[in-house]
């Protein structure tokens, strides 16, 4: 933040400050993507109010993008503490299955089912966290195990069947509307505000950044590195649980085989687009959320143009590489080499790895 504060005031200074803000580039990308779609994709910008509720692609992006935004929120914290969580998609499926089974086969009330599902998700996240911190496994391996086991447990619980339910109070989480806007949007905003508040107004935000930047130094400063990491993983599990409930409520069934499938890449990509370094360090939550909206806009855009979901995987894979490329020093080095050859001043190296 000191970088921005030290800039001179005035329009030019403000512009320079905005350009250096971490959210600037992802936001610019989103604006370009949206403008492109508004101009070139038919019916994209249409927004109508029916029965006191907004409909249209833009609302769809926010509503269907809610799970990815929630996953990205949790993933931001995990990546900020130099970890990774590949299990979020499976945790979504597991949470959805637990809630659906409790409501149908065990006749539990909606609050009980929701709390139980979230507790399971939190527990899975904590399990990941314990394996990474106190046991000392690599994050990829620990969460890869959970990626497979989580869906396995969900499949075993539901006996490979989809669980259909008719519970209006629960469906409200996914399909309901308040003030004309879908409920999932409010959930995302609520969770994001809470996390932002914690990151900005409490010391925890600083601790997380410290752990991600240099775990050894953080430990020597007296921070409880393991506890902070454990907290990040647990929270990521909880976020995945909420996302799973939304996704399940949205389609009125727990579809264990497909719920949250392939979403871990979307979430990781959203975080990387948002500017949080994969090597850990400062979390950029707003950037991650913008990244998640970009991912969802891309998905909706491709769907509206008749591209099948499976094919969008190729584009996302390409994006993952390009975005990572932009984040690492490799591109800077190449650009600088070219600039030196043409006799221009090299770009100052802004980010330290």
């Amino acid at each position: 933040m000191t970088l921005e504060e030290s800039r001179p005031a005035g329009l030019r200074g403000r512009w320079a400050a905005a350009r250096h803000s971490p959210v600037f580039w992802p936001l610019l990308a989103l604006v370009i993507l949206l403008l492109y779609n508004i101009i070139f994709t038919p019916n994209f910008a249409r927004l109508e109010i029916r029965e006191g509720r907004a409909f249209g692609s833009l609302v769809d992006i926010l509503q269907n993008g809610a799970p990815v935004m929630l996953l990205a929120t949790g993933m931001t914290l995990v990546i900020a503490v130099a970890g990774i969580d590949l299990s979020v998609g499976s945790v979504m499926a597991l949470a959805g299955a637990v809630a659906a089974l409790l409501m149908t086969e065990h006749n539990q009330s909606v609050p009980a089912a929701v709390i139980a599902a979230l507790a399971v998700a939190l527990l899975v996240g904590a399990w990941n966290g314990v394996l990474v911190t106190y046991v000392g496994l690599q994050p990829i391996v620990a969460t890869l195990v959970m990626l497979v086991m989580g869906r396995g447990i969900a499949l075993a619980l539901t006996q490979d069947q989809k669980v259909r339910f008719e519970v209006p109070a629960f469906e409200f989480i996914g399909t309901g509307a308040v003030l004309g806007l879908p409920v999932p949007i409010f959930i995302v905003v609520g969770v994001a505000l809470l996390v932002l508040l914690v990151l900005r107004k409490t010391a925890l935000g600083l601790y997380i950044e410290a752990v991600g930047s240099n775990a050894r130094a953080a430990r020597l400063c007296g921070l409880r590195v393991h506890a902070i990491r454990l907290l990040a993983y647990s929270f990521a599990g909880l976020c995945a649980g909420v996302a799973g409930l939304i996704a399940t409520a949205d389609i009125k069934e727990a579809d264990v085989a497909n719920c949250g499938l392939y979403l871990e890449l979307d979430a990781i990509l959203a975080v990387v687009i948002g500017g949080t370094a994969l090597t850990g360090g400062r979390p950029y939550l707003l950037g991650s959320l913008v990244g998640a909206v970009i991912m969802q806009t891309l998905t909706v855009m491709l769907q509206m143009r008749g591209v099948i979901t499976e094919h969008t995987l190729i584009i996302k894979a390409g994006m993952a590489i390009v975005v990572c490329l932009l984040q690492t020093r490799a591109l800077e080095t190449v650009v600088n080499r070219l600039r030196q050859r043409t006799g221009r001043k090299p770009v100052p190296q802004a980010r330290s790895t």
Binding site: Q138, V141, V148, G152, A317, A330
Partner: protein, 327 residues
């Protein structure tokens, strides 16, 4: 006799395999667990996993990870199916084409890892999505393969003993390919310069670089090799199923990593062996076999493999904690 420290994990795995085989044989004795036929079936049923796991062994030995193997395997099987059934290529051409594609995708990922320094897991995760998407782009559904040459290849088997005797068992082509890949992999890892470089890279990358080893080139080719193995596994899959399939190979990467780790290769790189992976594949194969006998669901089987991997990784952690290895 003093056992060298580096062979201990392998011996532990062999002991686990023998114990597991013994227990399974006692429990299912009447179904002939001790016959050669059962052992050959074990090789055959796990040939896809085994071939992928050999490629994965090199990746893990080098300190990396490859999450794209399952997707590449299924992509290669779909490519073979489409080339044979829709473009009427003979299998003699279709199979090398699929192998080349797999190697190229793997090598491409390796080059990205080498030249940009992006972490292997994110590159191969992207590679996994790329391969899955490409498979669906080529053909939306799985393809059944009918071709006389392909059928002939699938039926190929070596008789162990005189072929006319009724008790002679046949070694099918898939098992032969699996064993061949293990032998070649072991040879490459132990006696060829590439293999030594892989161990050096996994042991300490900086030291390998300072020793003047071609770290970058080796790194890129490790993933090329893993891609080739995945594509070969796809070939084996088409021989087994007579179809190119999208649904096979989901979560294969976990099984492969599990096989490698259970076989005594350290996830941190530098320590392990291809023969260990053979043992690991057999252990996982027996567990899968037992779970089918006991009528476990697919979900529980996944949970079991995950737990097995977890137990072995935690054991590795505990065993190597004493050795000075920074976390």
């Amino acid at each position: 006799m003093r056992i060298p420290r580096r062979h201990r994990p392998l011996l532990a795995s062999v002991a686990a395999l023998v114990a597991l085989y013994g227990v399974a044989a006692l429990r299912y004795g009447d179904e002939g667990f001790f016959t050669l036929q059962v052992f050959i079936n074990l090789l055959r049923n796990n040939s896809v996993l085994g071939i992928v796991a050999v490629g994965m062994t090199f990746v893990i030995l080098s300190g990396g990870i490859d999450l794209s193997v399952g997707a590449l395997m299924s992509l290669s099987s779909v490519v073979i199916g489409v080339l044979i059934m829709e473009y009427h290529w003979p299998p003699v051409l279709a199979i090398p084409a699929a192998l080349a594609l797999g190697t190229a995708v793997g090598l491409g990922m390796g080059c990205i890892i080498r030249f940009t320094g992006i972490k292997p897991f994110i590159v191969t995760l992207a590679g996994m999505f790329f391969a899955r998407g490409l498979g669906f782009l080529i053909h939306l559904e799985s393809v059944a393969i009918y071709h006389p040459q392909h059928e002939w290849l699938a039926m190929l088997a070596i008789p162990l003993g005189a072929p006319e005797l009724p008790e002679t068992v046949f070694l099918p082509i898939t098992a032969i390919l699996f064993l061949a890949v293990v032998l070649i992999g072991a040879y490459v890892s132990l006696f060829m310069r590439f293999g030594r470089n892989v161990y050096a890279l996994g042991g300490n990358e900086e030291a390998a670089l300072l020793m003047g080893l071609p770290v970058g080139r080796t790194k890129a080719w490790i993933y090329g090799l893993s891609g080739f193995c995945s594509a070969l596994a796809g070939v084996v899959l088409t021989l087994e199923l007579s179809s190119g399939s999208h649904i096979e190979g989901i979560a294969l990467e976990l099984d492969a990593i599990a096989a490698v780790v259970v076989g005594g290769t350290l996830l941190t790189g530098g320590v392990g062996s291809v023969f260990g992976t053979l043992v690991g594949v057999l252990i996982i194969g027996i567990i899968l076999n037992v779970m089918t006998y006991e009528d476990f669901s697919a979900g529980l089987t996944k949970v079991a493999i995950g737990l097995l991997l977890l137990v072995f990784v935690v054991l590795q952690r505990l065993l190597t904690r004493g050795a000075a290895r920074p976390a």
